[in-house]
């Protein structure tokens, strides 16, 4: 990038692109994030510290990243896809070898005083790399073994590295997100069904590889009364918080389950529960509607792109976003076992926020460069 001029990075006029940003989408994103600020303010019993203020700062930084990412020419992102993937992969290896252990898993690595979570980085770079890969694949070749193997390796290697950390949640996000891309890239239904059947058969085998605490989570999910004071307690209390919120909720900062600490992790994983307790069914449905609108906007962006790379990137980003929402909301409502996945844009957490905003930047970038036509063979050598 060093030899390139500003105009070669951003393409035509920056001002023109700025005007072309999808402002309604950004507005929706900001609305959801603001709900997050309000809840973090409530968690702290009416104080901006320690969560709301930090989160606002991060969101502001995230917005800057979003705009920057959106303005960079989509072809540059395309050409950076593989190198970025390679860097993320090396960091994942490094984290497995010398990473810091936090919360029982090696997830963090320090580079020059900066703590990075390579698995987060991988969420973006995997989308880029897979999009880049399938951009160059003809429709009829998608389901061929020789075409599929590299794609499966792109997904499988980081998945394996993340799972040994161990971080099953992120691993599942990577695998499901990657599979989603394979699906829209045109994987044949025959293979899809065959794999689903095999996966079903493999569940007992995979069970053997789960850690004890992961197995316990599944058992507790199946029967919360097994562990009424441990993980089952969290789910039970979460359901109580939901249910007691009723239709209209207990009111802002009035949630008894959350404020009296019956609800765990309410600034992160269980923030949706707290929101539903304080704003009731009406609030919760409203938030889900906002998410749905972001997804609808995003998918329409994907559909309107005139380059395959852009479509796949947009879809991949939205897929990751969707998975966050689905896993988190199902988990707090007791529909799936407890996994540490935050509610996107709302839960407190810097890394997830920045990753998401980078992803939305790419989505914007696809929108801004929707009319760029990139030949299938272009950039194959880079």
């Amino acid at each position: 990038m060093f030899g390139l001029s500003l105009s070669s990075v951003f393409g035509s006029s920056v001002a023109h692109k700025l005007r072309d940003l999808n402002w309604p989408l950004l507005f929706l994103i900001a609305t959801v994030a603001s709900i997050g600020f309000a809840m973090l303010y409530s968690v702290a019993d009416g104080h901006l510290d320690p969560w709301a203020k930090n989160q606002m700062t991060r969101f502001a930084v995230g917005c800057a990243i979003l705009v920057f990412v959106a303005l960079v020419d989509i072809r540059i992102w395309m050409s950076l896809a593989y190198p970025a993937y390679a860097v993320a992969l090396m960091l994942l290896v490094a984290v497995d070898l010398f990473g810091h252990i936090g919360m029982g898993a090696q997830r963090w690595i320090k580079i020059g005083g900066l703590s990075i979570q390579p698995s987060e980085l991988m969420k973006i770079t995997l989308v880029l790399a897979l999009a880049r890969y399938f951009h160059g694949v003809k429709a009829e070749n998608v389901s061929r073994l020789l075409t599929l193997l590299p794609a499966l390796a792109l997904i499988g290697v980081p998945f394996a590295l993340v799972v040994v950390q161990p971080d099953l949640g992120t691993g599942m996000l990577l695998a499901l997100g990657g599979s989603g891309l394979l699906f829209v890239a045109g994987l044949s239904w025959r293979i899809i069904f065959a794999v689903l059947a095999m996966a079903g058969a493999a569940i007992p085998v995979a069970w053997g590889f789960l850690h004890d605490y992961q197995k316990r989570r599944v058992f507790t999910f199946l029967d919360p009364s097994l562990d009424p004071l441990g993980a089952g307690y969290h789910i039970t209390q979460s359901k109580i918080a939901f249910g007691s919120g009723g239709v209209f909720g207990k009111g802002f900062m009035q949630g008894t389950q959350s404020h009296l600490n019956f609800l765990p992790e309410k600034q992160t994983d269980f923030i949706f529960t707290m929101f539903s307790e304080e704003f009731g069914l009406i609030g919760a449905v409203t938030l889900l509607m906002l998410y749905w609108m972001i997804l609808a906007y995003g998918l329409s962006i994907a559909l309107r792109s005139r380059n395959h790379f852009g479509r796949l990137v947009a879809f991949g980003v939205l897929m990751t976003f969707l998975l966050y929402i689905l896993i988190n909301t199902s988990m707090v409502m007791g529909l799936i076992p407890v996994v540490g996945v935050p509610l996107p844009l709302v839960s407190y957490g810097g890394t997830a926020m920045l990753t998401l905003m980078f992803g939305f930047g790419l989505l914007m970038c696809v929108h801004v460069h929707r009319n760029a036509e990139i030949p299938r063979y272009k950039g194959l050598l880079l």
Binding site: G243, S244, Q257, L260, S276, G280, L288, L299, H308, L326
Partner: protein
């Protein structure tokens, strides 16, 4: 754009649409789930959330006070100065404790217990580090509070017995609830709650206890109280008014100090007990705070048995104090006239047994009055012989022996009034006539408590009415009285003859208690009967050598000294019984004590002073919040 791109665009569009539909369906599923939680099951979850949030804490109501007949507090609730440590407020609980115990070193033994309690509980749970602090200690802790972060001076309430040992046997004491005291009342499960374990505290424990109040508080997940939502202080316990006159009680206690003795003073008409002393007493406050092992051992091993209420639990042969009953029986059954004389030569022979009078050389000719006055054994042996045991027993029962009267104290003993049937039933051996003779002078199988002897004296001096003793005037607004005791059907002339004999005992030269008469209150004189209860059998060998003097015997083998009396002679009002265990002779030991206490009673004359009206229940206080 070539046709192949079109193909893959078409696939992408189809499948994206599919994902879109799937997403929408999933969102619809989430909304359905939320509908189930937040609408269908909302009420149930709201209840669960409320259960989480609200905790009900019981509040102990103040225990009712116990006062004497003039309103003097005998059992009250006093402030208990305590120090409490909240570990989370102390930067270093260990250091704070060390500093605290340096300030009040007498609690240093508690250190380990406090540390254990702190380790066991959550950091915000207060631990009591010292209780019953003196005012000086409490002030010191307040003064040094800045150096003792986390230590909170606190004022609680505890039962207090200002008269301590003087009333231990009447008022009793409260102590921690034991496993077998458990019943439905939730108050009993309250940590630190005390219930009545003995005396009046035990008899009327329930009304004294009151009704539990409740405080509804909001708690967080760790049990920390956030705020009080509602409070109901409950109903305070009822106040109880006793029949006691604390001044007489105190006087009597001082008078028998150092002895193992019983004193009862009662009203012969109403049955009000003015004084009930069992000496030695013990400090009831010890039981309230939790008695130490050394204190307990001392009480248990004391030969004077301070834990026994001898007035109702001590059963003694009444000895010569019983002779008025034998006399009444003889008159009632017409086996003797008041003027008929019996010759006392000091010995009476029945079959091949010899029965001795206490006086060597005998009394010569004695009639009923002289028999009582000199306490002549031969006279009463003869009366008993003429009566037979069952007629004596009948009169004894009418005079109140062998009964517990339902007196408001726990563990009352009945004594024993033997009959021929009773002996056959319990021992399988038939009654011997010799046993009738010794029953006639109050020995043998006959047993009575000091309270029964006081009632006996009351019934013979109140005109033969079946007066019943009691200790409670009122509990709350409920009054107990027994205004018109029924007649026992005893000829008043017979009663007058016996009373005349008792007057001679105290007020005529030669009477066995003439030395202990009341001579300085004008018309107000005492009339009584001495008694000596043998603790050991006197063998023939000893009798030949000369009976050993009581003072030469070991304490435990000495005779019990008894004295019963009523006063004033002109218009009787009070009856008294004094028993001094192993005190020696009744006339020498018991009657001076009785004289002093009766003199005090006559001077105070509690029966003629207005007593306290019943104390109506205090209004329950409650506030909503």
């Amino acid at each position: 754009m070539d046709w192949r791109d079109n193909t893959r665009y078409a696939v992408f569009t189809r499948r994206t649409a599919l994902v879109g539909f799937g997403t929408t369906a999933f969102f619809a599923g989430l909304v359905a789930r939320m509908y189930k939680l937040q609408v269908t099951d909302a009420a149930q979850y709201a209840e669960l959330a409320e259960e989480n949030r609200v905790s009900v804490r019981l509040l102990a109501p103040p225990r009712g006070r116990i006062v004497d007949r003039f309103g003097l507090e005998l059992a009250a609730n006093r402030q208990n100065f305590r120090a409490i440590l909240v570990p989370e407020q102390a930067d270093d609980p260990l250091k704070v404790l060390d500093r605290f115990f340096k300030l009040v070193p007498r609690f240093a033994d508690e250190r380990d217990r406090v540390l254990k309690e702190i380790a066991r509980n959550r950091k915000f749970m207060p631990a009591t580090i010292a209780e019953n602090l003196s005012w000086e200690e409490f002030a010191a802790i307040n003064f040094y509070a800045p150096d003792l972060p986390g230590v909170q001076p606190d004022v609680g309430h505890t039962r207090d017995y200002p008269y301590g040992p003087d009333l231990a046997h009447v008022v009793g004491y409260v102590a921690k609830v034991a496993e077998n005291d458990m019943e439905d009342d939730p108050l009993l499960r309250l940590p630190g709650f005390r219930i009545g374990k003995s005396g009046i505290e035990r008899t009327i424990d329930k009304p004294l206890r009151g009704k539990a109040g409740a405080s509804r508080v909001e708690v967080n997940a760790y049990g920390r109280v956030i705020r009080e939502l509602q409070r109901n202080d409950g109903t305070p316990g009822d106040d109880a008014v006793l029949t006691l006159d604390m001044d007489i009680q105190s006087f009597a206690t001082r008078r028998v100090q150092g002895e193992s003795a019983s004193v009862v003073v009662m009203d012969i008409h109403s049955g009000d007990i003015y004084a009930l002393v069992s000496s030695p007493g013990f400090d009831p406050n010890l039981f309230n705070v939790g008695i130490s092992r050394t204190d307990w051992k001392e009480l248990i091993e004391n030969p004077f048995k301070p834990l026994t209420n001898k007035v109702i639990q001590g059963q003694y042969p009444p000895g010569s104090t019983f002779k008025p009953v034998t006399a009444l029986a003889a008159l009632a059954h017409g086996v003797a006239s008041p003027t008929e004389t019996v010759f006392c030569s000091s010995v009476m022979t029945l079959g091949n047994h010899q029965f001795h009078c206490w006086k060597k050389g005998g009394h010569g000719s004695v009639n009923l009055k002289l028999g009582i006055k000199y306490s002549c054994d031969i006279y009463f042996y003869e009366m008993a012989r003429r009566l037979g045991v069952d007629k004596i027993a009948d009169m004894a029962n009418r005079m109140g022996l062998g009964e517990d009267y339902g007196i408001e104290l726990p563990n009352v003993k009945d004594g024993n009034v033997p009959t021929s049937g009773w002996k056959l039933a319990t021992t399988g051996v038939s009654w011997q006539q010799g046993e009738t003779l010794i029953t006639g002078i109050g020995q043998g199988y006959l047993l009575a408590t000091p309270l029964q002897l006081a009632v006996m004296t009351a019934r013979l001096s109140n005109g033969g009415k079946k007066v019943v003793p009691h200790l409670l005037r009122s509990v709350g607004s409920k009054t107990f009285n027994n205004p018109h005791p029924e007649e026992l059907g005893i000829d008043p002339d017979h009663l007058a003859r016996v009373m005349d004999g008792m007057n001679a005992v105290s007020n005529e030269v030669g009477g066995t208690a003439f030395g202990s008469r009341i001579a300085d209150l004008g018309e107000l004189t005492i009339a009584g009967k001495t008694g000596t209860a043998q603790v050991r059998r006197i063998s023939m060998a000893e009798r030949d050598k000369g009976v050993m003097k009581n003072e030469d015997l070991p304490w435990i083998q000495r005779d019990h000294a008894l004295f019963v009396a009523f006063a004033p002679m002109i218009a009787p009002q009070y009856a008294i019984c004094v028993v001094v265990e192993h005190g020696g002779g009744g006339s020498k030991v018991a009657s001076p004590i009785a004289r002093d206490i009766m003199r005090e009673t006559l001077m105070r004359d509690p029966a003629r002073r207005p007593a306290l009206a019943p104390i109506a229940s205090r209004e329950p206080t409650s506030q909503e919040g």
